[in-house]
Point group: C2
Chain length 234, copies 2
């Protein structure tokens, strides 16, 4: 059993290269300075991120425990149960526990009675919502839509209907190399006056966040290929 | 018409007193240092927040434009149309555009062709989700539930059903002086093994974020009276 008072810190990382000076706050620097054990979605990304903060930590002395969508629950359970010190959870990009495997570890942490402390940092989903101008009073995030064309079309129709009828903002995404196909499907499926926000390369120097009608996007099709993008129907 | 390139910065503020040193990042300090015009939900809160950052700004030289839920759209439209310099939007607490009136101004900003730049900062909704251990792959935020007892019970039943059937995490809140009644309604309405996360005083020194079953909460009822709280059914 863990000793009382052991805490798991949910540590956000950067969304775009070389943005740590701007988007990583003092709270995250403090936490990483203090911790030596990290549950991480991607070891290479996490090591590089910690190095980039220039906190004087010797990366080779740190313990990284992989936590991907394929990590068996029993492995994470054992690792958390045997913790004798505070640890961090770091996602591949953005905030752990949101659209990533971190939530599974946190659920176990609550069962083990560990303290869970979320730290403030960049989330492309939240930043896109803030800048979209669509309703932030009621919203839903759906992750990835189906790849199958017919099913995807049906999913988009449901999102558009919920956005209008429930006044609920609909947020979704796609793997970056399929962004253009998803955008095409959205513009083909939705009504001309439906508002679509495209939030592309959020926090990067070439960040583009625009909300326009379907009709207006059709006349000015952006190239989203391989660029991390959040889509919003408002 | 606005000159090209004018930008609106979505500026998060603190959630709890005296936390600015920990949760406000360099990006927000930079933006506030540079800006002289702010659209704000609460002028007093915004002035106090800017003062607390000790950036050497003379608060009396700044322009504050009120942007509440009762501000007529035409007033915000005129103010944004006549902007000749970059401006910021500051909410009463947390991230503007999320569960506050900022979104209405952003929608106008997009129509006027202004650039909208969201800055990284604390959101009690996102922090609660990160620390809850409930699914971050699919989630919905509903704002306030109905006050009427029968309607509220029905709403909670729908949330519980959606959490189970759609595996969609359900997030909601209440005005702090009614938190205990809402918690009571949730615990009375939901099944004993349903997971409920209570995220109370997020980012404050006495932050409490715990996910437990309904049965377990009933045996250990917390007092949430007048404490800002996010509720999650997972």
């Amino acid at each position: 059993m863990n000793e009382p008072g052991i805490a798991i810190y949910m540590i956000p990382t950067i969304l775009a290269e070389d943005t740590q000076e701007r988007v990583i706050g003092p709270q995250i620097r403090e936490a990483i300075s203090r911790l030596d054990v990290f549950f991480v979605e991607n070891v290479r990304t996490a090591r590089r991120f910690i190095s980039s903060l220039k906190l004087g930590k010797v990366i080779d002395n740190l313990t990284f425990i992989e936590l991907t969508k394929d990590t068996p629950e029993s492995i994470t359970w054992e690792a958390l149960k045997n913790l004798r010190q505070d640890a961090g959870i770091i996602s591949e990009a953005g905030c752990p526990g949101v659209a990533d495997p971190g939530a599974a570890a946190v659920q176990i942490a609550h069962q083990l009675g560990l303290k869970v402390v979320p730290l403030v940092g960049p989330s492309s989903i939240l930043l896109a919502l803030m800048a979209s101008g669509t309703s932030g009073q009621s919203f839903a995030f759906h992750g990835y839509l189906p790849i199958d064309k017919a099913l995807r079309k049906k999913a988009i129709q449901t999102l558009e209907r919920d956005a209008r009828q429930k006044q609920q903002t609909q947020i979704f995404m796609e793997t970056p190399f399929r962004n253009n196909q998803l955008l095409e499907a959205v513009l083909e499926t939705c009504m001309p006056d439906t508002l679509v926000c495209i939030a592309c390369n959020v926090t990067a120097a070439d960040e583009m966040i625009k909300t326009r009608t379907v009709k207006s996007w059709k006349a000015n099709l952006p190239d989203l290929h391989k660029k991390p993008t959040i889509f919003i129907i408002g």
